[in-house]
């Protein structure tokens, strides 16, 4: 276990460095000037701005920012929002996305596992059909449609006063954006659970347990689920990283000042410092969650030797 953690932690900076360089290359070849304003700007003004941001050339950029990031964890100033550093933006936006994302992941995991298990147990029955169809409908419509409809719903006259539209005042205001965000992982978890549950249900130990006289639901919920949950667990890693860093659509529709919108807006604004900042945050999340999942795997299923080569 210790060896795994050490190995992964050593790998982390290397992977992050590669990601940084790759993103930087794309950022630099993309057309469009980060400093272009509403009207054409005098070249002298652009030159002075570029100098301020160490962006006269890719070399100057690479000579300045990576050292700042490594040395001081300082991602520099945002090129679009001149008053704010990338660190400011991440600090203000990430906690919001994390809270919303955690909430969504809880919904997705609980509902997904229950639906998937029920579907597997009643394979081919109406529960199987109905539950999976409902789960799939959520991911068969673009998320911007689902989110917009939920927003309309929250503002409708039957629900007047329940939700504060367009802002957050009480925990209940998290509900609809959370549901919108949970749709995709929920459907995925339901399908994963169903498939692996079908596998487990057909295995020997289930028959043994039943033969020992244990009740059906006890066997299903207690024994089978423990095993069927493994694939779900490995999906939860990347899914959590993805969900916790926020979703552009949900944040835009529900007016949530989270990190998700920056994944799109920073690119559209060519806010180079911010793009690289959010990419590194995201990648760190992904790598960290993968590590956590691998460790959790070891806790849930001691047969798996997490220390060994993958």
């Amino acid at each position: 276990m210790g060896r795994l953690i050490a190995y992964r932690l050593l790998q982390l900076p290397l992977i992050l460095a590669i990601i940084y360089v790759l993103t930087f290359l794309l950022v630099w070849v993309a057309p469009g000037d980060p400093f272009a304003g509403e009207k054409n700007i005098d070249p002298a003004v652009v030159a002075s701005l570029k100098a301020t941001f160490h962006a006269e050339s890719p070399w100057k950029f690479l000579a300045y920012y990576p050292i700042q990031i490594i040395g001081h964890l300082n991602f520099g100033q945002s090129m679009q929002y001149r008053e704010w550093t990338v660190n400011d933006i991440i600090k203000s936006a990430l906690p919001i996305s994390v809270v919303l994302g955690l909430f969504a992941m809880v919904i997705a995991t609980v509902v997904g596992i229950v639906v998937g298990t029920m579907a597997a147990v009643r394979r081919g029955g109406w529960i199987d059909w109905l539950s999976l169809t409902i789960a799939l409908v959520g991911i068969s419509v673009p998320s911007f449609v689902v989110a917009a409809l939920l927003l309309m719903l929250s503002a409708s006259s039957w629900l007047s006063g329940v939700f504060a539209v367009g802002r957050f005042e009480r925990p209940i205001d998290l509900l609809l954006p959370g549901v919108a965000l949970a749709m995709a992982p929920m459907a995925y978890i339901a399908r994963l659970t169903r498939v692996s549950m079908l596998d487990v249900l057909s295995s020997d130990f289930v028959r043994t347990a039943r033969a020992k006289g244990l009740s059906r639901s006890w066997v299903i919920w207690k024994h089978c689920l423990k095993n069927a949950i493994l694939p779900v667990l490995s999906y939860l890693g990347p899914a959590a990283a993805y969900t916790l860093t926020g979703s552009f659509v949900v944040e835009k529709v529900f007016n949530i000042p989270g990190l998700g919108q920056h994944f799109v807006n920073s690119v559209l604004n060519r806010d180079r410092t911010l793009i690289l900042g959010v990419v590194l945050v995201y990648s760190t999340f992904v790598l960290a969650f993968n590590l956590i999942v691998d460790l959790a795997y070891g806790l849930v299923d001691p047969r798996i030797d997490v220390g060994g080569a993958r």
Binding site: P31, D33, A36, G37, E38, K39, N40, D42, P43, V45, T52, Q77, Q80, Y81, R82, E83, W84, D88, I89, S92, A93, P95, I96, V98, V99, F103, V106, T109, A148, L151, A155, V165, G166, R167, F168, E169, R170, P171, L174, D204, F205, T208, A209, K222, H223, K226, K252, V253, F254, N255, P257, Q261, L268, N269, A296, L299, V300, D301, P302, R303
Partner: protein, 557 residues
């Protein structure tokens, strides 16, 4: 065989932790997004500004939402707060103009104070204007009419010795500011009322000094010191800005609101829902997707006003297209034919739907007192066909397939481009292609003239004809059509040195008409600002330049 899993206790604990997390985490989250309770009876004016605040740094500022906040927290020698938003004395009490109309002597208001209690002195203006030149921004060019300013800026940019003594900005004593212009500028007081000419408080900015300029963070509370009717007390990125009444403001007795909150929300639907729910009292610009419906339903609070801006097509007038082909638009007749064959009223009636006046001229009519444009080109398909045939493309034969560029974040322009394609096909027999690109690429393509026809807009910065006409000077870097006409340049040069307002307008009228008739641009319609104002709000007059006199705004009980 028993289940192979023995660590279920750990799993249970993990799940428990998972479930407990959201409530635990919501507490800190909510403290940052919750609305602050207001003192009893105090009126907080919440409004939704257009988009995010990009910057409040006077040097960098160029977006209307940023100016809107700046008008509440800062004040210049003059403010656009008079009748019809004409400049009236604010930081100054009076001004003397020399007989040659080149030297302005401003007498500062002795009781004017910064929000920290320091007096506002002439040196604060000199400091701020010098900073505009030292660390140039989008609007630095407005200062170039001041004697020596342009040369000073150029010298700095070239790293040559520059002497600010040679610039015509002098504080003759703490309460007198003397400004000498290179040439008379009839609208100079309008410029003075524009934020790039506002003073700044040097001592509070000192910690932010960086090179020749200052880091924009000097504008963030608690460091920021301003001199307007309100002070910025809280600014949370992408969430809100809180502006409280400035007790040190010289006219504080006449400020009605106790606080203003600028709410961030750039989603059209949710903006309107917030307004309906009473959470905000004012939406500065209702997005194009919702506005026409509100107008059609005569919603209470919905109001429109012709804006100081025009939506038009810019045509690339260079002899060659970006691809190297010969450019048919280089021929004035082709450009005129394209202009004459657009049914603009179809666009305003079916697409934009805010009652926009159809544009045949570049400058929005009725927005500048005393100025009227000469008539431009109308809708005349027969003449268009004739012109096209004269240019060598009878019935559109032989005309290459050219692209019409638009920025894809703007659904209105996307639809206009599709309609144009259809109309030109129908009326002239010419096939166009439409090309949507995202906004930064769009701007780069326009400014580098890497386009053929593009859907663009121009809003005036200050209330004078030249804010429109200067754009098409041969030397202007805003001249995206690359239309070069010595006669036009001559007329503008003549107008620039004409001190008599009527004669000057005559010259400009002729110049504007050259644009309308030679068609480097095809005006489509003049913009209309659509806003939602709650009936409880008083003292808010909507106007072409969407200015607000924050002092006068009040909430009725």
């Amino acid at each position: 065989m028993e289940s192979p899993i023995r660590h279920s206790g750990i799993r249970r604990r993990l799940i428990g932790l998972f479930l407990a997390l959201p409530p635990i985490l919501f507490a800190p989250l909510c403290s940052s997004c919750d609305r602050r309770p207001d003192p009893a009876g105090a009126a907080v004016f919440r409004f939704i500004n257009r988009g995010d605040i990009i910057t409040l740094d006077l040097n960098q500022m160029s977006y209307v939402q940023d100016f809107r906040v700046t008008y509440a927290i800062r004040e210049g020698l003059f403010s656009p707060t008079g009748v019809n938003f004409a400049p009236e004395p604010a930081g100054a009490t009076s001004v003397d103009l020399s007989p040659d109309k080149r030297t302005y002597t401003f007498h500062l208001r002795p009781q004017a104070k910064w929000s920290n209690g320091d007096p506002v002195v002439a040196g604060d203006y000199v400091f701020s204007w010098k900073l505009m030149l030292d660390s140039p921004g989008e609007y630095t060019y407005l200062l170039h009419g001041i004697e020596g300013a342009h040369a000073y800026g150029d010298a700095l940019a070239a790293d040559e010795p520059a002497d600010f003594e040679s610039v015509g900005i002098k504080a003759t004593d703490p309460h007198t500011l003397q400004v000498t212009l290179a040439k008379p500028i009839t609208y100079f007081l309008d410029l003075i009322a524009f934020p790039p000419f506002y003073p700044r408080h040097e001592p509070s900015m000192r910690p932010f000094k960086e090179g020749r300029g200052y880091n924009s963070r000097y504008t963030r509370p608690p460091a920021v010191v301003t001199n307007g009717p309100f002070v910025l007390t809280d600014w949370q990125f992408k969430k809100r800005l809180r502006l409280d009444r400035n007790p040190n403001y010289w006219d504080a007795g006449n400020v009605k609101l106790s606080a203003i909150e600028n709410v961030t929300n750039d989603n059209a639907l949710s903006q309107y829902l917030q307004f309906e729910a009473g959470a905000v009292r004012y939406i500065t610009e209702v997005p194009a997707d919702v506005a026409p419906e509100l107008r059609a339903q005569h919603k209470v609070g919905f109001s429109t006003c012709t804006a100081f801006g025009t939506f038009f097509l810019t045509l690339n007038c260079r002899p060659e297209l970006p691809s190297g082909q010969k450019n048919p638009l280089n021929d004035t007749r082709v450009r005129q034919a394209l202009a004459l064959s657009i049914d603009k009223s179809f666009i305003t009636e079916n697409i934009s739907r805010l009652g926009e006046p159809v544009a045949s001229t570049y400058i929005p009519p009725g927005t500048l007192p005393g100025y009227t444009s000469l008539p431009g080109l109308g809708y005349d398909v027969k003449r268009a066909k004739q012109l096209l045939a004269d240019a060598g493309f009878p019935e559109g034969r032989g005309f290459p397939k050219l692209p019409v560029l638009y920025n894809s974040d703007n659904s209105l322009r996307a639809r206009v481009a599709q309609v144009l394609k259809q109309q030109w096909k129908q009326n002239l027999g010419i096939d166009f292609e439409i090309e949507g690109v995202e906004v930064k690429t769009f701007k780069e393509r326009n400014s580098t003239k890497n386009y053929t026809i593009s859907t663009v807009a121009w809003y005036g910065d200050y209330p004078d004809v030249s804010t429109f006409t200067d754009k098409y000077l041969s030397s202007s870097n805003q001249n995206d059509s690359d239309w070069q006409n010595p006669e036009y340049d001559g007329l503008l040069a003549q107008a620039a040195s004409e001190a008599d307002a009527t004669k000057r307008f005559d010259l400009l009228r002729r110049a504007e008409n050259m644009i309308n008739m030679q068609v480097p641009i095809i005006p489509i319609f003049h913009y209309v600002n659509a806003s939602m104002i709650d009936p409880s709000v008083e003292g808010m007059t909507i106007n072409a330049r969407s200015l607000i006199n924050w002092k006068r705004v009040a909430i009725k009980n």
